[in-house]
């Protein structure tokens, strides 16, 4: 094959059960944190905190439960690519919505 660089033993990596339980505990704590944080009145920072916590949780799930940490580089690249295109969809769509107020076609 063209890409023999992946080592079998690396890929068949059996993660210790204690790690899974540690991740699970962290996720539970973070869930509680995000609920509590939402009750604090932080204004615009509320959404930032919520998304930050969600992203930490998501990253933990992807890296450990989904074994991305032990996956071939190709898989990692694919995941990064999809996040990139997701970001493109959000940001370029919002380019329109955010700047529409000051510059709609046909305005003054």
């Amino acid at each position: 094959m063209a890409q023999p660089q992946q080592h079998d033993d690396e890929y068949t990596h059996v993660v210790p059960a204690s790690l899974y339980i540690g991740i699970w505990a962290t996720l539970m704590v973070l869930t509680l944190t995000t609920v509590l944080a939402s009750f604090a009145e932080l204004g615009w920072a509320n959404i930032v905190v919520a998304l930050l916590i969600a992203t930490i949780k998501g990253t933990l799930v992807v890296l450990f439960f989904m074994h991305l940490r032990y996956s071939p580089k190709l898989t990692i690249a694919a995941v990064i690519a999809s996040v990139f295109f997701l970001f493109i969809m959000f940001s370029l769509t919002m380019t329109d919505y955010i700047s529409r107020a000051w510059s709609t076609y046909g305005g003054h």
């Binding site: 107020a101 076609y105 046909g106 305005g107 003054h108």
Partner: protein, 326 residues
């Protein structure tokens, strides 16, 4: 022969010449590259045909050539981009002091309301050599206001105003098309724009039968619907004083500022809670579904007229008087 078989649209607005200029430039560049490609293929096909050249010379490629045909097209494209954007910003920004016409698109007709109160369907009369701004909304689906002779087009959306403008430079009658597919009679949603000289236009206004200037009708609606109880012009009411509002920056209760344009006024009538002026409570009820697009235009026109007491009111009154005298 070319009369019955035209190959080019009439050029009847100030911007049409500019659009055509860029168009010709694009054609010239495209023709050059198309001919270049066709010719090269032809020459290579003949010169290097199997019988002539049985043993090909292998060439891997050439970095200088690759760079040439990447950078030169890129450079040309940047010219297109800059030129096209300059025209777009002229097309997209209506000049101050333009005469305003409200348009409502519905399946499948165009309804126009002039500031002076004349209404027409599928026909739009405008004077030559004046800036005309169209303030448009749709009652149902998306339509698009397209006058090829003026080289302008703008989609007409339900739920908000869009606008476009033109400056007719040539007398005549021009096609008005709906360019966004809108259902069964889409191709029947056509009309004409009649460009008249100023005196003929005045005569048309007089004959056109006006129920009073748009802003005056709007003022009546404003009184009937009881808007004036809160939006008082003398003292501070429960709602903001609307005199002089249009065209100003408004500070909202959440600290943002917005420009009080037609869409802002529209939204504040239909969905008052969306953007509440700082210092006021969100107590205004919504008028969504209680007011037609046409009536809405009248109210918007009235609120706008509160900001232009000198020139606009006078001209409106004059025109209205001329209309009433007949």
């Amino acid at each position: 022969m070319w009369k019955n078989f035209p190959l080019f649209p009439e050029r009847a607005s100030a911007l049409a010449g500019q659009v055509d200029g860029l168009y010709f430039f694009l054609i010239a560049v495209s023709a050059f590259f198309t001919v270049l490609i066709f010719l090269t293929i032809f020459v290579f096909a003949v010169k290097y045909r199997r019988e002539n050249n049985p043993h090909p010379t292998q060439i891997e490629g050439s970095l200088p050539l690759e760079l040439t045909w990447t950078l030169i097209p890129l450079g040309i494209c940047m010219i297109f981009f800059a030129w096209g954007s300059l025209i777009y910003f002229q097309e997209g920004r209506s000049p101050k002091g333009a005469m305003e016409v409200y348009a409502v698109g519905k399946q499948w007709m165009w309804k126009f309301e002039h500031e002076t109160g004349q209404r027409e369907i599928n026909q739009l009369h405008v004077p030559i050599d004046r800036d005309v701004k169209m303030i448009m909304s749709s009652q149902d689906v998306i339509h698009s206001f397209f006058v090829p002779a003026f080289r302008i087009k703008a989609d007409v959306l339900p739920g908000r105003y869009t606008s476009t403008w033109f400056h007719p430079t040539k007398l005549g009658t021009y096609h008005l098309f709906c360019a966004e597919y809108c259902g069964t009679q889409h191709s029947g949603m056509i009309g004409e724009v009649v460009v008249m000289d100023p005196s003929a236009y005045q005569a048309w206004l007089v004959a056109g039968g006006s129920a009073g200037a748009l802003s005056e009708s709007g003022q009546q609606v404003f009184q009937q619907m009881g808007c004036a109880t809160c939006h008082r012009s003398d003292t501070q009411g429960r709602g903001p004083n609307l005199a002089g509002l249009f065209g100003k920056q408004v500070t909202l209760d959440d600290g943002r500022t917005v420009l009080a344009d037609e869409n802002y006024i529209r939204e504040s009538i239909l969905n008052p809670a969306a953007k509440v002026t700082a210092g006021f409570k969100p107590i205004m009820p919504t008028y969504q579904g209680q007011i037609s697009e046409e009536t809405l235009s009248e109210v918007v026109s009235y609120i706008k007229s509160l900001s232009q007491p000198q020139p606009n009111t006078r001209s409106t009154k004059e025109a209205a008087e001329t209309g009433n005298r007949e």
